[in-house]
């Protein structure tokens, strides 16, 4: 999103005030205060043809002060609003975790858990159509690591732009993606790669680097660190948009990894309100697929009860409603097995870079 789509401070405060006004207006009419939100579950996301990603549908849920729990939520929302206003006025920002601790002083408006404060911040984003960056709220978790021959400019603490080549100017841990990867903080300057490979586990990321895979196959490697943070998804989206480079995703073969891919390519359920900024519809799932378990005779583990439930849920998840995914999920249910990326080591440490990845990349037309 460019600077122009971002809201001014005044606009942010105004949208927040609208939330408070909905409550106040209702109380003036003698009704319990409330807040209207889209339903945030898989039943209320649908494919947006124009944007090419999954967005929230029309189902709304009302959070009103007829139950103690919801009433507390409303009060907390007002406290957050006040807190954000103060930060905007004083030019400060805080992490979500800091806000959670600050809420200790909010009396009856204090949060029960960090999760609750995160969710409420997201609720506010959705209702006000602002981003949490607008609210001066930062996530705790850091973004991804990148290694590969791309060059970026990042504005540092002193406000100066510094140029970083993600292969030559970084150590073994790579370039750390900051939490804010918007234009005002990060510019994509130059590249000499053919594609980007996003990797689920740190072990595999390090394996590929040790084997020199990035240079050999002319790609940039991104370590997702499990379910990717917003900034990780956002930077992939920008690389795809600005450099038109293919993004391939390499994960374990288990139901949770499928969800990682879905959040990258189609949009996450929790952040469906900003899918058009975060999701990269051009991303491709490289592996490990359920087919691979059979084709490469990989060592596998039995699916746990949670795995089986997760697979069942994915069958009815609109994001997986394609022939290919349905086939993969059903095959996995049939096998009753899952496999880790590292299981490829069965055939030696180089097998993944010498045989597996070249064969898989060849299959999607990215052979080298």
């Amino acid at each position: 999103m460019s600077e122009s789509t971002r809201k001014s401070r005044r606009q942010v405060v105004d949208s927040l005030h609208q939330v408070a006004a909905e409550m106040h207006n209702r109380m003036q009419r003698g009704d319990p205060p409330r807040m209207t939100l889209p339903v945030r579950s898989k039943s209320n996301i649908s494919f947006d043809n124009r944007l090419g990603v999954f967005k929230y549908g029309k189902s709304k849920t009302v959070r009103d002060a007829t139950k103690l729990g919801s009433a507390r939520q409303l009060l907390r929302t007002l406290h957050i609003t006040e807190f954000i206003e103060e930060m905007i006025d004083s030019g400060k920002s805080s992490t979500l975790r800091e806000m959670y601790y600050i809420s200790e002083g909010w009396g009856n408006g204090k949060f029960g858990s960090q999760n609750e404060s995160n969710n409420l911040a997201e609720d506010l984003e959705i209702v006000t159509k602002c981003l949490r960056e607008d609210f001066k709220l930062r996530p705790e978790e850091d973004g991804a690591r990148i290694i590969g021959n791309i060059t970026v400019e990042e504005r540092n603490r002193r406000g100066e732009w510094m140029t970083i080549n993600c292969r030559d100017d970084v150590g073994d841990s790579g370039y750390g993606v900051p939490y804010n990867v918007e234009e005002e903080k990060l510019r994509l300057v130059d590249e000499d790669i053919d594609f980007v490979m996003a990797i689920e586990t740190g072990g595999m990321f390090d394996r590929l680097i040790e084997n020199g895979f990035d240079e050999e196959s002319r790609c940039a490697l991104i370590h997702l660190k499990g379910q990717p943070a917003r900034s990780t998804r956002r930077i992939m989206r920008r690389i795809s948009d600005e450099w038109k480079k293919p993004i391939v995703v390499f994960t374990d073969c288990d139901p949770w990894s499928f969800r990682i891919f879905a959040s990258i390519a189609y949009g996450a359920i929790k952040t469906a309100h900003i899918s058009e900024y975060l999701a990269t519809k051009e991303a491709t799932y490289l592996g490990i697929t359920a087919d691979d378990i059979l084709a490469y005779d990989l060592p596998s583990d039995d699916l746990s009860k949670q795995d089986i439930n997760a697979l069942e849920a994915e069958l009815s998840d609109p994001r997986f409603n394609t022939g290919w995914w349905q086939e993969q999920i059903k095959l996995m249910q049939e096998l009753g097995k899952k496999a880790e990326q590292q299981s490829l080591a069965k055939y030696g440490l180089d097998f993944v870079t010498d045989t597996y990845l070249p064969e898989k990349l060849d299959g999607i037309g990215l052979g080298y």
Partner: protein, 515 residues
Amino acid sequence: MKAKYQRGRKSVYQYLRMTSIVNPHASISLIVYDREGSVVEEGNWTRTSNKLPRVVEEIKPHPHGIQLGTLQRMLREANDRRMTSFLKHNFSGVSPRAAKEILAIAEVEEGRTPKRIKAEEAKKMVAAFQTVKLLKPPMDCLSPIEDLLIKKGLSKAIDSRFASTVTRNPSVSQGNPFQIEVGLVFGGDLTSDGPIEILRFANRVPLMYQQGGCLLTKALEAVNWKSYGLEQPGGSGIPKGPAAVLIHLASTNVQFTSEAKEAVSHNEEVFDEIRKAMLEVGRGLKNHLKKSSQRKKAKEKFELVNIILPEISKKSSELLGREEPDLAPVITQIMNAVFLEEVLSWDKERRLSLCSITIHNYTARARAYTILAKWPESSETSMEFNPRGGRKEARGLWAWRLDTLDPGTSTVLEFGISGLTKGDWNEADIFFRGNGEIIGATKMDEALLDEQRKAEALEAAVEEVRRKDVSSHTADMKSEQSISDLSVEASVSSDVTELVPSADTDWFGMESDDQ
């Protein structure tokens, strides 16, 4: 004699603990030293009541429970000259008329000397005992602990939140009077993950072994506890949950499964009585659980409108720089109900158990109700403090008619009971008459109340006749006739009262959850 001192659940400690429960008037302490003189086990149960158990009356055997051998022995040892006086003086429940009838059926002449009766004739008499209509044996031979004292006894050994107790009316099985008492405690320190603790007693003696083979346990297992709020995996057996159940069988003849006297053997009538007592305490528990959840709900609503809502109003007004809205109509909309809260307390100075009932009308309409409260009415208690007057509706049930309660207003109803000690009364049941629900009170079930009134009237009538009979004493055929007529009537209607539990337990306004 040498013996090993066994510690723990199945030994001395548990025996004394159980003994202390059924003897609330006793203080028991246990200190066990080992050879070196250090304490290895310790228990201390102090008295919770100053009331001694009633001294029991000795009674003569009742013909319904007599076996041939016993009869023969009694005949041999008898000093009576005539059979009629033998029957009258050595048995309970035998009137002169009944004695004549028995002898006629057994074909034994009235003037025979008991000592001379032959085995053949005695056999016929035993058979005749079963066919002739006899009076029930007197019941003052039994020593029940009585509900309030069960509560106190349980509180001595178990720290719980709630206790429901029942003392059933005495009953007879094969000529033997017996009486069932049951106490159930719930919550507090009791653990919730295992089966409930069962405390079995026969004539105040703890039964510690053979739990599974005992009639008392089997009757407990036969109850569907799920519908009373306890878990019962598989729908039968010993329920699970933070509860303990006390079962006391008082009888002139407790039948055990073996000489060891560890478990009570099967008996249909006793089984039935225990089951009914269980259902009564079960209903008490169910009521309690329902109340607790209602109370929790009400508490949340109060917090919502009294604390959270005003803060929402204040904060949103501050943020927007607007005036604070009037919250009264909002509160009415959120609550939209009449709430009732009762608080029980102990007035140390006046030695009164106080009950304070607050009723809030959070609806948009004016409401008029009659509030009814259950109180532990007995010969020792009285409604000492009662500024609102009202009237007695039935035994242990008082009613007050409230003035119209306008929207958004509340009123307080208070009364105090004398004759109790601190902690005796810790759960009140409140009922109401009128339109619309009250959260925190139960709608009065008028049909059940009617039943109770009838049962009470009948009881009073029976009592009246008995008293007359005692005073005139002479074996007047007429009054005897009227007693037996009445007792027939009473036993018919007692079928009804068995469906409708006796007056001193929780049952008003219950849904029909009896199986």
